[in-house]
């Protein structure tokens, strides 16, 4: 059903521009990877705290507040480099199961991160929050781990 959309994507100049260059895809891919490291760090530091490891002596709120700008920046980096990477090979992506796994988990991870997770990191510590924090952190790590693994797998298919 979405195939015509992907075929249309293939005709866009940005993708063709990337395809036409020997260097552009690897360079954009590298920036995508640099974004991954930053995203990984800024998400892990909070998720680790949520499950009770890493900076466990500090308040979740404080860590999340400081990590948020870097997470947002890393996400902008990832999406703005991910789009040209996708546009350079939309048909390959369409037929890649890894691509669909990545996109669906990415959508879930983004919504989750900016709703439930944000709310949890801003919550005052009251009765029974520790267990909830643990769950929220573990789920966040699992979701982003899936996004990253499936993303890497697109390249192998």
């Amino acid at each position: 059903m979405l195939l015509p959309f992907f075929q249309w994507c293939e005709t866009l100049w940005l993708g063709q521009f990337v395809v036409g260059s020997n260097w552009l895809f690897p360079v954009i891919e590298s920036v995508h990877l640099l974004g991954l490291a930053l995203l990984g760090g800024s998400i892990l530091i909070v998720d680790m705290r949520l499950v009770g490891i890493g900076l466990s002596g500090r308040e979740v709120k404080e860590i999340a507040r400081d990590a948020r700008p870097y997470m947002n920046f890393a996400l902008v980096m990832m999406i703005s480099t991910g789009i040209p990477l996708f546009l350079s090979e939309p048909i390959k992506c369409y037929y890649s199961p890894a691509f669909w796994v990545k996109m669906w988990t990415l959508a879930i991870a983004l919504i989750y991160t900016y709703t439930i997770r944000t709310k949890t990191t801003r919550m005052e510590l009251v009765h029974n929050t520790a267990r909830r924090q643990m769950l929220v952190g573990a789920l966040s790590m699992a979701l982003w781990f899936t996004v990253a693994s499936a993303g890497r797998w697109i390249g192998f298919s």
Partner: protein
């Protein structure tokens, strides 16, 4: 035995061939290498940003180091193990890759930076542990680390591309020299 001869010997071993030709093992090792990046470089970046006073300013630097270091080291161990396996799977081409060689140089520089920080800057950490603005030496170490790891990631990713491979001639004299290509002269 020269390093090239060693790589040639390595490439002929059963394990190297098996890993190189495996359908799933090689991609799995490579994925583990990339994902461990989030843990290792990700947390190292947080530490570097703390050294640059860009986040967690209320947390003493010594506490950030103490709490994150075990995880960073764990991530680094995974990176080294998977990295060695990736080299083992494709020894000759990797050894003669300009990107691999650049990556090794950056790695050594990053190692020197860590050593310098550990022996010269961290030893006096008590003096600036909770300072709002960290001292220049600490900021410099954090900045060098950020730049070097970015270079290591990019160079590492580029190993996969064959622009400067020895079997694609002609290459510039610099590439042939830096990659250690054995070029037939007539």
């Amino acid at each position: 035995m020269s390093l090239l001869a060693f790589c040639e010997w390595l490439a002929a071993t059963e394990g190297s061939i098996a890993l190189h030709e495996s359908l799933y093992m090689y991609p799995l090792v490579e994925s583990a290498h990339v994902l461990a990046l989030c843990l290792f470089v990700g947390l190292a970046t947080i530490l570097d940003l703390r050294l640059l006073s860009r986040l967690l300013r209320d947390v003493p630097v010594s506490q950030v180091i103490a709490r994150l270091l075990p995880w960073t080291i764990g991530g680094f161990v995974v990176m080294v193990i998977t990295g060695v396996l990736l080299f083992y799977a494709i020894p000759i081409r990797t050894y003669q890759s300009v990107w691999f060689r650049a990556k090794v140089i950056f790695l050594i520089l990053a190692g020197i930076n860590v050593y310098y920080f550990h022996t010269r800057v961290e030893t006096r950490i008590a003096e600036w542990d909770t300072a709002v603005i960290t001292p220049k030496a600490a900021r410099r170490a954090g900045l060098f680390s950020l730049i070097l790891w970015a270079c290591i990631i990019v160079a590492g990713r580029f190993i996969a591309y064959n622009w400067f491979d020895c079997d694609i001639q002609p290459q510039s004299a610099f590439v042939n020299w830096f990659a250690g290509c054995v070029v037939a002269t007539d």
